[in-house]
Symmetry: C4
Subunit: 384 residues, 4 copies
Amino acid sequence: MLLSLEHMRRRARRRIPRVAFDYLDGGAGDEAGVRENRAAFDRLRFLPRALRNVDAVDPSATLFGRRWALPFGIAPIGLGNLVWPGADAMVCRAARDAGLPYTLSTAGTTAIETIRGLAPETSWFQLYVAREQTIAEDLIARAEGCEVLFVTVDVPAPARRPRDIANGLSLPLKPSLRMAADIACHPRWTAAMLRAGQPRFANIERYAPGATNAQALAAFMASQSSGRVDWAYLDWLRGRWLGRLVVKGLLAPEDVCRARDAGADAVVVSNHGGRQLEASVASLTMLPEIRRAVGPDFPLLLDSGVRSGADVVKALVAGADFVLIGRAAMYAVAAAGEAGVRDLVRLFEAEIRSVMAQLGVTRTQDLDAGLAYSDFGAVSSSRP
Amino acid sequence: MLLSLEHMRRRARRRIPRVAFDYLDGGAGDEAGVRENRAAFDRLRFLPRALRNVDAVDPSATLFGRRWALPFGIAPIGLGNLVWPGADAMVCRAARDAGLPYTLSTAGTTAIETIRGLAPETSWFQLYVAREQTIAEDLIARAEGCEVLFVTVDVPAPARRPRDIANGLSLPLKPSLRMAADIACHPRWTAAMLRAGQPRFANIERYAPGATNAQALAAFMASQSSGRVDWAYLDWLRGRWLGRLVVKGLLAPEDVCRARDAGADAVVVSNHGGRQLEASVASLTMLPEIRRAVGPDFPLLLDSGVRSGADVVKALVAGADFVLIGRAAMYAVAAAGEAGVRDLVRLFEAEIRSVMAQLGVTRTQDLDAGLAYSDFGAVSSSRP
Amino acid sequence: MLLSLEHMRRRARRRIPRVAFDYLDGGAGDEAGVRENRAAFDRLRFLPRALRNVDAVDPSATLFGRRWALPFGIAPIGLGNLVWPGADAMVCRAARDAGLPYTLSTAGTTAIETIRGLAPETSWFQLYVAREQTIAEDLIARAEGCEVLFVTVDVPAPARRPRDIANGLSLPLKPSLRMAADIACHPRWTAAMLRAGQPRFANIERYAPGATNAQALAAFMASQSSGRVDWAYLDWLRGRWLGRLVVKGLLAPEDVCRARDAGADAVVVSNHGGRQLEASVASLTMLPEIRRAVGPDFPLLLDSGVRSGADVVKALVAGADFVLIGRAAMYAVAAAGEAGVRDLVRLFEAEIRSVMAQLGVTRTQDLDAGLAYSDFGAVSSSRP
Amino acid sequence: MLLSLEHMRRRARRRIPRVAFDYLDGGAGDEAGVRENRAAFDRLRFLPRALRNVDAVDPSATLFGRRWALPFGIAPIGLGNLVWPGADAMVCRAARDAGLPYTLSTAGTTAIETIRGLAPETSWFQLYVAREQTIAEDLIARAEGCEVLFVTVDVPAPARRPRDIANGLSLPLKPSLRMAADIACHPRWTAAMLRAGQPRFANIERYAPGATNAQALAAFMASQSSGRVDWAYLDWLRGRWLGRLVVKGLLAPEDVCRARDAGADAVVVSNHGGRQLEASVASLTMLPEIRRAVGPDFPLLLDSGVRSGADVVKALVAGADFVLIGRAAMYAVAAAGEAGVRDLVRLFEAEIRSVMAQLGVTRTQDLDAGLAYSDFGAVSSSRP
Ligand SMILES: Cc1cc2nc3c(=O)[nH]c(=O)nc-3n(C[C@H](O)[C@H](O)[C@H](O)COP(=O)(O)O)c2cc1C
Ligand SMILES: Cc1cc2nc3c(=O)[nH]c(=O)nc-3n(C[C@H](O)[C@H](O)[C@H](O)COP(=O)(O)O)c2cc1C
Ligand SMILES: Cc1cc2nc3c(=O)[nH]c(=O)nc-3n(C[C@H](O)[C@H](O)[C@H](O)COP(=O)(O)O)c2cc1C
Ligand SMILES: Cc1cc2nc3c(=O)[nH]c(=O)nc-3n(C[C@H](O)[C@H](O)[C@H](O)COP(=O)(O)O)c2cc1C
């Protein structure tokens, strides 16, 4: 019986090698940013309303002209198949069956064509802008079938993640003795990996024709990481992409307003789960101020730190229209495969329904700041 | 010699099976709400007044036209006899003898008729509104002899309590191997339970004539839990019940004002002891604002987190007229039976007298916000 | 080499029986008040001034028309000789030699006549008002030789100190098996106690002529504890006592102003070291507001939580003219007898000189609120 | 692979004797000041800006008419060669090669002439004003070749550092049995020390001609520590020194303004790394208010608590133009000699570049308060 995501996380830690778990679980620097994301959720406390008929709670939410069964979807995850072979497809299918959107990353380990085949209606694509413009052009062309394109703007440079450095994470995995022992202790993961092959950058590899092995490909990938994505680039992208365009990774209210004015259809308020800038403010902390700045109608998504259905509701109360989960879905798949993701969705749905009933609210669009008792602004000192 | 309630709690933990202790002790989710309730009391610090004659401290309090020996009573507790066989009656008698009110729950394990027989003057009844209106009607009719009827409005849906799920709590107890071992380790509880029989929903069972065993009854009980209790229902109830009507489970100031306007005679400011909505604000945190909103005269009761006589005084200082204790009384009965409850009352009385003398106050009605040094608003992050 | 008071405290814990150490070290209830007193000092941080000539720091302070070598004295301590036989006289002599005042408690274990013989210039007397007026009258008459009389007003009723209850503290000590073993493990204390005899209420015993043994005396003592000390009583006392009159144990600014208006010569802002009201605000927390209310000239003393010379300076910065130490001196005497108290005074003097030099201040009267960087108001939740 | 400074600190702890490590690592009193310095950095969280081209991040900074490769330099350290034989020169060379300034202390263990020989362009001198004016005069004359002279004003009196007292730190080292064992356990340090000789006050020894051994010299040095450095002295110094004059050790905004008006070219906002006044406010806490008071153009440096490149950026965001590191460089040299310092500089550079890119800023002068999300004022209670 699944009691909370934390149980899945612990199961995942036992079930997959450390190099994979740390890649998933870790963050930038001393990981104070990861902790601050959680602390921001813990600080927000609800002020429920009673004596409202909540016999019929409806946890669905509208976004981009569709009704989703629940007010959250799956955030883009690079290198997903390192966490568990086939993870991308498992998560994508479970999301589709639950009526939730799935976002494939440019750095994902499954080809966009494959993913769209699995879930034509519910899969979105997230673009990392490459240094060579022709690559971006081609990726955009391949994404055409998706209704929604994310462009992630909080990775202007690679981040330092000490756990990954300590573990010697690289692609292809070049096992040290320690890593070899670690892998040997996780035979199920190893067997699955042997069957499926090492994870590959399935969306990018074609642009590096000279890169005949994974190592060369990873080097190519790194060489494409770019600090050039600026407002002018966003203008170009807006002109080029006719579907919904979502800017992922903003925190400053003025940046969100400017993205809206530049024609973005939505923004993901995010600090990349604390993986890029350790000392970043939590995205939840900024959300109410952003909502005030941008007005009631502009679609805001939030991620970074969501670990329960109650957290999803907190994000909506703080001003989001929709929520994304990153690590949560990956813990589930690492703990129990596709079934784990289905369990997770059920758990979150039960929690969302229960919290909404307790708050006296039957529709997600009625979750607003009046239901929060909190001084959002406080920042905790979270270094251990 | 009883030093503090915490000692009783520890004794209770040793003396009763885990399934029973966890049912009593636990809360919703990760139990951050239970901790926040305590944190709110710890944050409130007194600003005492000196040089007032306190030779004659009087800890009694008036509520509903009666003078109670102490300014607190017993909150409604479902399934009390699971905690200790006969617990309901023990607590009821001890309260009666101490001049304190006892509230029987619809989900209590002793029939309302029995309880009223034990304590005709001091027993109140708490109504959970059932899905079938005829049941509610009949319960109200049976409660007629009570001066006070509570209607609990913070249980629109069942809550997730991970400890209960992990322990496999159900009625009748269906012991797993682990639970059987647990029970076997508590022979006194087991012997008492064998004598008394498994706890039954003594107030409800008659409405489920088809339910010939406890299991079917529990299923029936669950089916009656209702999210339909709304303001219209309160109006109906107000018209139907001629005695004092108390709404239990409000936190928002506007809800309290509306309940008053709807004819409620009092409100219990409560978050159900952190058992329903993990991320709820503490009831003590809301109390001063509620008192300001509702004016000085409307009777306010408070529960959730009271663990000492000093806490009772804090609640009065923060704006309550009267206090309810839930777990405290049950720890006492689990630790030492009826005598335990009497000890507990004596302990609380001694603490209330001592704190009032220290504050320079001789009458409970003079305990007001000027005696608190505190910024009530602060919310602590209490997830571990 | 003495590094900090904490070392002395630890030495004291090893050197004296638990019943004595806990009596000294403990506080009311769960001792959150003791911790809050410390937290208030820790929260206050200095904002030093530089580039002032501090070659000649003078740590002396004027109070009651005298210049004291350092800006602190010894708070009244009841039952001092239980902590170490002869403690009262040791502390009194060490204080005298260091040019500091010593306050004898009514509940002290050395007669006022003896103490005044030891230190005619520097000993003050603290009055606990007894239930029988004639006793108070006689005590006041005997105190006539002292320049300063304290009246303690924060003990309207006995406090609950769980450690003392658990240890079975009483006078005379009635050793349980556990206490006997404890005492047997501290032969030096025991030998000294055998030589000196059990501690006696040397100032009170004469008023209980029927009380031929310590037990009867203790009962008599308890019977005298009084909640009748009120403003009228203070008026009477002010008329009766011609020397300096100090009210000890106020925290509310209006109480301090009223005491001043009633003719008190000074007030000790104190919560009795957290020994009476567990949930009391810290005295340091209230001090700035009290100073603002009472004006710059009225003499304010502070105690409760002072553990270092830096703490003494913090109290002066926060608004005190003079500081009292309670437990600190007793830890010292318990750790190393009279020499321990001398060491302690030297340690505090060194710290005060060092902190004053760092703050850029050469005279104690120039220590003011501009040297504090702090939001005095914040209250920490300090229950563990 | 170097992951963070903390790893170097741990390596240093293993590699050098405790007496040396504690001298470096410790602080005044219970070291709450050291912890508060860290807490202040942890509280400051960034609010990054996105969609700015950061392909070309330039971490250099202008100060005193020069462009430095990175926005930080080395703070003056007394007794450096105790930490590791030859440490002063190692740090000086590594700084020079990285294009960073190095500050030699009057209490340094390498002669100013030697240091200037090593790094004629990048070495600064820090003056401790001696009691005898002629010594100060001569030191200033010898410093003439340096472009920048610091005068440290936060050491009006020696501080109590309990670890040093407990270790029996003195010059020359007079090993107790414990210290001898400690030293024996660190043969590499001991061998290096035997080769290099005990550390000497190489800048001061000539003024104590009678002091034929290290002990006499240390006594002489102590006798020179002076509380006489005041504003008049600063005026004299300003008249005497024609180069850049920097006042090190101010925290109060009015002191900084006055130093500016007195002709100082810059100020180091510093609390001496928590080594002088335990209860000092953190320098980072004061910085924004100081910047507001002193205006945008006056050069402000900051030290105390900087442990990463992100901390360097935080200081710039909070109002500094340049940063100094004290312990950080010494941990590095103790952990791995001169190569350690070079590693450290590389680590900080990588972090600075990464954080600046994440913030959307390419030039250090554009790091301003708009990039901080924080309530700088909060002070944490940091005693353990
Ligand atoms: C293992 C991992 C890989 C990620 N890869 C990407 C990525 O390729 N593109 C992207 O925009 N975000 C990526 N993210 C960030 C997520 O999309 C999301 O912002 C973040 O995980 C949210 O925080 P949470 O994990 O606390 O839910 C990744 C996150 C993780 C944990
Ligand atoms: C074991 C248990 C059973 C409870 N059952 C009921 C109930 O049947 N009806 C109700 O209104 N409240 C119920 N409550 C809530 C209490 O009435 C009360 O609000 C809560 O216990 C107060 O918090 P405290 O336990 O911290 O004092 C229950 C609480 C506990 C601990
Ligand atoms: C063992 C002990 C006995 C005390 N007895 C008395 C007393 O007889 N009269 C009194 O006014 N205060 C008494 N006090 C309180 C002290 O005078 C003083 O207010 C308190 O100790 C200050 O707090 P501190 O211990 O943290 O310095 C006593 C305190 C202690 C620790
Ligand atoms: C071992 C040590 C010796 C120091 N000696 C001096 C000194 O001689 N002169 C001086 O102005 N500051 C001295 N300082 C203070 C530093 O210059 C600087 O202000 C401080 O180290 C900054 O804090 P940080 O160590 O946290 O970076 C010393 C600091 C340390 C750690």
